[in-house]
Point group: C2
Chain length 295, copies 2
């Protein structure tokens, strides 16, 4: 059982250093988080982007670029994204990180049928929380990529989540499919999806629902409501019904829950670190650690 995100940092430290290709590295918050991750001995970066701009920012944040590989490109961030992606495709790096490039341009490079990093059918956002109010790491998906996933897409999102769990050492993750209630109601699609997902054959994971959050994370609440399930009160992953619900939950824990989080995009051939401006410094560093800890 993994209790904290610092365990992931330790895991990343004690394995061969992962190479992280940064697309358009000329970005201060990204370079700051990389500096912290390098100091912790977690990753070896390859900075793809405008060398002069990277050096300028590095100087202002006191980031020593000696011994740091830089692949210079001054033809724009989209090209930097393509260069970083093709470097990974050729085995030159293990993790992709978004720098000063739009998410759209980065994902376009990742999803390119010939030169990209496609694997399955769905990319999804996978976050792991360390909360003072939960007894172990709590995974949450998808709070940022898929707007209103249909049943099929939810299957892919679960598969991505299970892969992420396995890669960090959670062997048989318990997935709670979330809705507002525990009974199936045709007027509430989330409950219908949950019942369908529960019925499917799953390997190396346990899927149950529909559960409201109390049932997923609190054993007593489950007992009160007479729900018997090994997922109830002990889930490893929360599957949100859609992006609004997932996003509200994710930000409730981050901004009103005293929790720390790390997140990656799953579903490509390598984990992708895609931090947002509103993420804290700590959260950005932890996201790099999460990607680097993956086997």
């Amino acid at each position: 059982m993994i209790h904290s995100l610092s365990e992931l940092v330790e895991k990343a430290k004690h394995k061969p250093k992962q190479k992280i290709a940064v697309a358009a590295a000329e970005d201060e918050p990204v370079l700051k988080s990389l500096k912290a991750a390098i100091n912790d001995g977690i990753v070896t970066p390859v900075l793809v982007g405008n060398k002069a701009e990277i050096e300028k920012i590095a100087q202002t944040i006191d980031f020593n670029l000696n011994e740091i590989e830089i692949i210079h490109n001054d033809k724009g961030a989209d090209i930097s994204a393509q260069l970083a992606v093709s470097m990974i495709k050729n085995g030159g790096a293990d993790v992709l990180m978004k720098g000063f490039v739009s998410t759209g341009a980065l994902l376009k490079a990742v999803l390119d049928k010939e030169n990209g990093l496609r694997k399955g059918n769905t990319l999804s956002h996978m976050a792991f929380f360390e909360s003072p109010y939960y007894h172990k790491l709590l995974g949450v998906t998808d709070v940022a990529m898929n707007i209103a996933p249909d049943l099929d897409t939810k299957v892919h999102i679960i598969n991505n989540a299970v892969e992420a769990c396995h890669k960090i050492g959670i062997t048989t993750p318990k997935i709670a499919v979330i809705a507002a209630v525990e009974t199936v109601n045709p007027k509430m699609e989330a409950t219908v999806h949950a019942a369908e997902l529960k019925k499917m054959q799953w390997q190396d994971c346990i899927v149950d629902g529909p559960f409201a959050i109390d049932i997923a994370v609190d054993k007593e609440a489950a007992i009160h409501k007479g729900i018997v399930s090994e997922v109830a009160g002990d889930c490893d992953v929360i599957l949100a019904p859609d992006i609004e619900a997932g996003n509200m939950f994710y930000k409730a824990l981050n901004f009103l829950g005293g929790a720390n989080s790390a997140a990656v995009i799953m579903g490509a051939t390598v984990p992708i670190v895609l931090t947002s401006r509103s993420d804290s410094e700590t959260s950005k560093m932890l996201s790099i650690a999460l990607a680097a800890a993956m086997d």
Copy 2:
């Protein structure tokens, strides 16, 4: 500015005691929470229901029924709901509380066109949180009644929320209309609704959005993203896009956020206390206090 739910308890204590009519009072958790509220001097109850069963439960929880008004009915909980409602309609009580009766039966009595407590077009759930991570009371609506409210229903929900705020002394509530992003995207109905709601003429409140939760509750996050709004980072009420998103947020704060909450149903002629089995004892008592504090 109201900082804590205990201020509502104090407010309820220092005004003429509100009479609370309990529909089907033969319910142990409900009688327990009433006992606490009576001890705090918050309400005067009128227990409607099966007298023998009420007395039996009262004995096991050491609840002294001397001086407590009981209206006996042994013809079932639905009739108790109707009796409690008509008592309020005749001015005999100020607040309605759900006991051992289904929510459906209670609301049927409330919504009855001739004998009910109808006022506007929409009943909605209104919760107030005291969170260690926010600087004042945080309202959240609607996490339990309206499944997928359309634009018109969202207007009613906001009106109910504003009324609730006014009744407890928040004079010009700031309402944050929540989505997963801050830009309007036709594929995300929540953002379209938010833009429409923002454009409308509002009285005695400020409505802004679409905001993700970070923007609504964290001023720095808003500055980072370049959003200028007096609602950003200082909202009084979170308007959730739908029941799943609202419910996940509500339960994140209650079960993973170290917060306390109180809630009532708004939109009828009186506030309705409708606690759920998974609510804590404290939360049930605070919900009674919230209703009793309303002017």
